[in-house]
Symmetry: C2
Subunit: 327 residues, 2 copies
Amino acid sequence: MHILVLGAAGMVGRKFLERLAADGHLGGQAIRHATLHDVVMPAAPAGAAFSVSLTAGDLSAAGEATRLVAGRPDLIVHLAAIVSGEAEADFDKGYRINLDGTRDLFEAVRAIADGYRPRLIFTSSIAVFGAPFHERIGDEFHLTPLTSYGTQKAIGELLLADYSRRGIFDGIGIRLPTVCVRPGKPNKAASGFFSNIIREPLAGQEAVLPVSDDVRHWHASPRSAVGFLIHAATMDLAAVGPRRNLSMPGLSCTVAEQIAALERVAGKSVTARIRREPDPVIQGIVAGWPRNFDPARALALGFRAETSFEDIIRVHIDDELGGSFVA
Amino acid sequence: MHILVLGAAGMVGRKFLERLAADGHLGGQAIRHATLHDVVMPAAPAGAAFSVSLTAGDLSAAGEATRLVAGRPDLIVHLAAIVSGEAEADFDKGYRINLDGTRDLFEAVRAIADGYRPRLIFTSSIAVFGAPFHERIGDEFHLTPLTSYGTQKAIGELLLADYSRRGIFDGIGIRLPTVCVRPGKPNKAASGFFSNIIREPLAGQEAVLPVSDDVRHWHASPRSAVGFLIHAATMDLAAVGPRRNLSMPGLSCTVAEQIAALERVAGKSVTARIRREPDPVIQGIVAGWPRNFDPARALALGFRAETSFEDIIRVHIDDELGGSFVA
């Protein structure tokens, strides 16, 4: 099979490709070729037995989506997006990439119009939900985004469902929890601290906690995020029906529970590296975010995530730190 | 004040303009000018004390929306749409007018960018909801359209909320119930029979009922639909908050209850003109439609509709038949 991955240079895209390179197949089907696209040139995964084409460009540029689907990929994984903060700061760019780019991709598939009907996975976000909401957000709760990014993702979901209903492609939209522990350096994303307070102390570094310990949030590991993509790529989509967009499972816990889990896994000397420095701006942003979900449909359809924050920490230690940490 | 009405040649648009012409003001503000636009040339309402510009064109054509908002209307009433059946039959036309045209309008307002911030009313539809749903659809139920028309309306709602949140305009989206009794000739819309079985018998004509008597649906009179627009144009929008799209109130009743009301208002000789001729295709379509709502937010915000189907029939007899019918 031939796979097209858009947004292949991002963290989830890279980890998905590493997994494909390691597995060599997808649901028992051999992978023969992967086309990897991003706005910056992506890298081929190490050790892949399949051939790889690398391409960089603006998904919303004229002809770009048409070129990308011309090879008639069997599976399209659409991870490309301008992230939340940038889509909020740059109205035009956010709508151009996140809405027009997505629609261009869908239209490029439709334009082939000879019975070609790939599977298409669209990564949406819990940012489609905006406060106030129930303590646990159920599968029938309405989408009321409070950012342009969330609006663009919600529109992508609606288009995905309509194009799938029309038989243009076989689509599935997956709303990812906050990915934690995010590897790499601390960044300025408002959600960064959820990962920073685990990753940095395990690396012997100090981390700043800008919110109070009782803040609750919704997490899944990078490994689970890749697992969602693999499952979405291989599951029976007929069982999904016309409601093609699903809140993925995750783990709801408070910052206090994150820190207690870190102490159980790594000890007090590690948690002592967390410094509390309340930031009212970040506290205000985080107050509008979902805290917990009841992802009954995704669970019934076989999607799985971690069920304890210790597991999330151990995934990080195993996958990113080679099994050890700075005690 | 200056008003721009898009879709001004449609039934709701014409009745809204007749009401403005009769009132001469909107929420106490004198109307000085109205620009009326549609794909076919609209007509000026009779007896208006305000000046009227009439213009016809394709809202999604290059420069059209910019031209329409260049006069900086204080209120924009966006009723223009390709209807459900046509948007389903013609994919490109539906997306072009219902999505691109709406976005072009919103962008034309944004492009003025000098503090101009009109009120903008967007008419959405109960077609944003697709079965299965609860017996009464609440204000927090998700939008799962099963048509391209419903998808396009749902996307319009999301854009309206984001542009309003950004301060580009002060928007409100109203999801209209099925308008009943629709004046005019019987048409081939799948929903036409809800009006036909009232309007035709009152005019001495036979009407066909293609579904069983226990089919339940959600109705409001043309007079109520106009009332929703007037209220949306004059209410305090600050009270609405970021969730800018509201299911309007209506009346839920079965076909049997419609016919019983018709008998109470007009007698058995009138209801005898209804001929039962089941149509499995129409029955199938109607089975996926909403039957009842719990429009708590709209009611709390002061929107009102009829509370008995007799009232809906009397509105038709008063407003369309000059107070009498063929007994």
